[in-house]
Amino acid sequence: HFYDNVVLTIPRNSTWNYFNKYLGCRVGQKIKGLAKIKQYFQRFGYIDNSLSNDFTDEFDQLLLSALKSYQLNFNLKITGEFDISTLQNMVKPRCGNPDIVKKGTTHMNYGGKTPMDHTVAH
């Protein structure tokens, strides 16, 4: 669908409301739908692709590691929780290319300086 100067508005609220339930969610909690979040992280390289995508809804160490890597890559405060900034970033449309290509290692956040790997342990 291509448009030239046509105003079209699709409210983003529905997406935001869906993610809103994860606000403040942290390790040890179990919330329905967290398995989908793990699939999201796996899709973009934050969880090893070799793992089965049959995830649980528990906020476990796997999700914590993925979340921290995500926050590092997007220059967000590394809280290890689903805070507002992180959730708002996750609902934005994005490129389908993964952010991490090597298990546990991201090349993405160089900080504009020395090309050093940032390794986040699983």
Partner: protein, 190 residues
Amino acid sequence: FSFFEGQPRWPSSKSKLKYAFLPENQLTDSVKLAFRRAFDKWSKVTPLTFTEMDSYRSADIRIGFFVRDHGDGNPFDGPMKILAHAFAPPIGFFHLDGEENWMVDGEYLKEGMVDLESVAVHEIGHLLGLDHSSEKDAVMFPTLEDGTRKVELSRDDIEGVQMLYGSNPDYNGSSTVYTHHQENDISGYS
């Protein structure tokens, strides 16, 4: 900036790259022009040139709009979420989600619309060997808020691509280095 694993790039013998559009998409001239403008951003700062050709199968860079599963293992997902993807050199596949509401040539972006040129500039970066950047102002930053236009290469993007290919001899190092995007945030900054 960052590179793909192994820093793949187009060989020096391939500095004049040819691109073509999937014929089945039957794109209009205005849509093709948006891609033209996006390619120009990168050719201004590198020795690379980009020329459109008719033959999709023999082009170095193949551009197509696809819907859902399109056979490369990276299915699209309907409006918003994933907008496009592109492969590292020398593969040259550039796929866009045919279910997005693409703004082709306009300044009045609203929620629910995606600026085609902004996405094209980003994906061409992948086609040239750049991976995602953590710099929010860089076109290689992974997200693009709907209703946002970001088409100018940042210093981060330019430094990255010039590490792979060197600089365009005519590039003066400053004329195109600024970031322009219209993001709405709660502080009212635009």
